[in-house]
Amino acid sequence: MGILEVKNVNKRFGGLQALGDVNLSIAENSVHAIIGPNGAGKSTLLNVLVGKLTPDTGSVMFDGQSVLGRKPYEINQMGISRVFQTPEIFGDLSVQENMLIPCFAKRDGSFMMNGYGSVGNQRDMLDKAEEMLVEMKLADKRHMHAAAMSRGDKRRLEIAMCLAQDPRLLLLDEPTAGMARADTNNTIDLLKQIKEERDITIAIIEHDMHVVFSLAERITVLAQGTPLVEDTPDKIKGHPKVREAYLGESQDAA
C-alpha cells in the first residue's frame, strides 16, 4: 500500500479523454517519476492530485484519506507540497518573508488571525526560516526582493518553502524546464541531497530523461492518458513499448 494511491481515475475535457483509467501507486519514501510525451496527461494527473481538478470517476487516496473534493490548501495541509514548472514565489516579499510564510502555515494552519503581534517577535518562526535559508544556501539573500533573484535561486527558494512545511509528499512539475545544463545538475544534486537527509516521498513529472534517470527509483510512463508501463529505470530504458511510444522521439529532441 503506497502513500499515494490513484485508482481508476478518468478525466474528460469535452471530447478529449485526458486521463483514462489511471492506476498509480507511489511507495512511501521513494522517488517516483511520471514521464510521457506531450499531451500524455501528466499535468492533468498532477492537477488532480493537488485538488485543482476533480476527476470524473475514480479515487485518490493520500495516506488512507481521500483528497477528492478538497481545496488545494487543504490538501497541502494534509502533507502534499507542490513545486511549479515556473517557480511560484512571493515576488514582492523578501526572501526571508517567503521562508516565513510556510513556517507560519505549518504552525498556525490555513487561517490564523494575528494582527497585533509582531513577526519580528516570533523567535521560533524566525529561527526555523533561517535554518532553512542556511540549509538551502540562500541566507546571504535573506533581505533581497524574491523577484530580483536568478531563476535558479527562485527554484531553490520554492523548494525550500515546500520543505519548510515538512511535507510527506513533494510533487515536482518539470522542475528543470527551461534550465541550463549546470542549473539542471544543481537541481538534481539538491533533490538527491533532500532525499538523503529526510524521510520524504518525491513524485516528479519530467521531460528531461537525464533528470529522470538520475533520480527516479520507479518510473511510470503515461501515453494518451493511460499508464503504459511502470518499472525501475533500468527496465524502462530497455522496454520496447516505451522506446516506441516515447524514448525514441525524446532522444532525438535532446
Binding site: 511560484e88 494582527g115 513577526v119
Partner: protein, 399 residues
C-alpha cells in the same frame, strides 16, 4: 516602544507632533495678509484632515496590503455616520457610544458586503463593491427615508428621546460632547498678527487617528499583515502553501470597513448631521485617490494623501475671481486679464481640475505616491553627503 521598532516608533512620534502642532503649522500666514487664505488651521478643516486620514489608513489596509481595490468604501463611512446619529438621537449626545456603534455597524455591514464581493477578484470585485455602495446610497436617499431622512438627512433635534441625557433646557440645541466637553469648544491664541485656534473636537479626532495609525502599524508588522501582502503577491502560491486566502482577505476588508465606520462616526461627532451624499460613489473614489496619491501600501502615505486632498479641496476651492485679480494686479491690465482667464478654470469650483492634473503627474512620475517623492528627495541629499558610496540598491521593500 509600544511593541514597535525604533523606525516605526519614530514615525508615530512625528505624526503625533504634527497633529499636536497642526494649529500652528497650518496657520503660517498672519491674519489679514494676502496669503491668509492659504491658512488651513481652522477647526472644520483640521477635523476633516484627521478624519479622512483615518478613512484612508483603513482603506490602505485593504488596498495597500492585499491589492483588492474597493470602490464602495464610502458606504461603510455612511453607515457608520447614520448609526452614530441614531445613537445621538436615542441614547446620548456623548460621542463615545456613537463612535462605538458606528464601528460595530460598519463592521457588520462590511462583513456582509465583503463576504459576497470577495467571491470575485480584480475588476469584478471592484464593480461588486461599487454596486453595493450605490445601492446603499439609493436606499439611504429614498427607500429608507424613515430611517435615513432621505434627501434632507438627519440631525439631532430638541425633541429626540435621548434616554441617557436629561431634558435639555428650553431653546438649547443638542450639542455633541465628550462627558460634557463640547466638541465645538475652542480657544484662540493671538501672537502678533497671527491667530491660532485650538479646538476640542480636533484634538479628540487627532487622538483617535493616532490610535488608528498605531493599530495599522501593528497590523502591517504582524503575521496577518505579512499574509495580506502574500495575497497581493501570489495567491496561487498561497493556496499551495496550505493557506486559505479568503478569510485573510475578508479580515482585511472588515478591518478597513470598521476604519471607515470610525471615520463616519467621528464626522458626526464633529458636525452632527448626515446626508446620503456621503455614500455617493465619488466619495468612494476620493479615498482611492487619497491612498494612491499618498502612496498605497506605505504606512504614512494615506495620511499624507488625505491631508493633501482635503487641504486642496478647502483652500483652492475658496479662491475666486477677485482673489485672482488681486494676485495679478501688479501686471499690466491685458496681461493680468490673460492670467486670470488661464488660472480661473483651475480654482474655485474647478479645483477638481487641479487635483486631476496633480493626480496624473503623481501616478506617471511617482507611482509610489508622495512617499516615494519624499524618499527620492531624501536619497538625493544622502548621495550628496557621501558621494563615493555606491547606492546599496533595494534592500527593503518600499515603505
Amino acid at each position: 516602544m509600544l511593541g514597535l521598532s525604533k523606525k516605526d516608533a519614530g514615525l508615530l512620534i512625528v505624526v503625533a507632533l504634527l497633529c499636536l502642532f497642526a494649529p500652528f503649522l497650518l496657520n503660517p500666514f498672519p491674519e489679514g495678509s494676502a496669503m491668509a487664505q492659504f491658512n488651513g488651521g481652522y477647526p472644520d478643516l483640521m477635523q476633516r484632515l484627521v478624519i479622512f486620514g483615518i478613512f484612508a489608513i483603513g482603506f490602505n489596509i485593504l488596498f495597500g496590503l492585499t491589492g483588492y481595490l474597493s470602490f464602495g468604501h464610502a458606504a461603510f463611512l455612511g453607515v457608520g455616520s447614520y448609526a452614530a446619529i441614531w445613537m445621538m438621537k436615542l441614547l446620548t449626545m456623548n460621542i463615545i457610544p456613537a463612535i462605538m456603534i458606528s464601528v460595530l455597524v460598519a463592521g457588520l455591514f462590511s462583513l456582509l458586503v465583503g463576504w459576497i464581493s470577495l467571491r470575485r477578484s480584480g475588476i469584478y470585485f471592484s464593480i461588486l463593491t461599487l454596486a453595493f455602495a450605490q445601492m446603499s446610497y439609493a436606499l439611504a436617499y429614498s427607500v429608507l427615508t424613515p430611517i435615513t431622512g432621505g434627501e434632507t438627512g438627519l440631525q439631532p433635534k430638541y425633541t429626540d428621546p435621548r434616554i441617557l441625557d436629561g431634558a435639555l433646557p428650553a431653546g438649547q440645541s443638542p450639542r455633541a460632547n465628550l462627558f460634557g466637553l463640547d466638541m465645538k469648544a475652542t480657544t484662540q491664541l493671538e501672537v502678533g498678527d497671527w491667530v491660532f485656534t485650538f479646538n476640542a473636537g480636533y484634538y479628540i479626532a487627532a487622538a483617535v487617528m493616532l490610535i488608528a495609525f498605531y493599530l495599522s502599524m501593528r497590523i502591517f508588522r504582524s503575521p496577518l499583515g505579512m499574509m495580506l501582502r502574500a495575497v497581493k503577491s501570489n495567491q496561487q502560491r498561497m493556496n499551495y502553501t496550505g493557506l486559505n486566502s479568503k478569510p485573510y482577505t475578508l479580515a482585511a476588508f472588515v478591518i478597513s470597513g470598521m476604519y471607515a465606520g470610525l471615520a463616519g462616526g467621528l464626522l458626526v461627532a464633529m458636525d452632527t448631521q448626515v446626508g446620503a451624499e456621503r455614500m455617493f460613489w465619488t466619495a468612494s473614489g476620493e479615498v482611492v485617490l487619497m491612498t494612491i496619491l499618498g502612496g498605497a501600501g506605505t504606512l504614512i502615505g494615506p495620511i499624507l494623501g488625505a491631508g493633501f486632498i482635503k487641504y486642496m479641496e478647502n483652500i483652492i476651492s475658496k479662491i475666486n475671481e477677485s482673489v485672482l485679480e488681486q494676485w495679478f494686479a501688479f501686471m499690466p491690465d491685458w496681461m493680468g486679464d490673460f492670467m486670470v482667464a488661464i488660472v480661473y478654470p483651475f480654482v474655485g469650483k474647478g479645483w477638481h481640475l487641479t487635483l486631476g492634473l496633480l493626480f496624473m503627474l503623481v501616478v506617471i512620475f511617482l507611482p509610489g505616491g508622495l512617499v516615494e517623492g519624499g524618499q527620492r528627495i531624501g536619497k538625493l541629499f544622502r548621495r550628496k553627503k557621501s558621494e563615493p558610496d555606491t547606492p546599496d540598491g533595494k534592500t527593503t521593500p518600499a515603505e
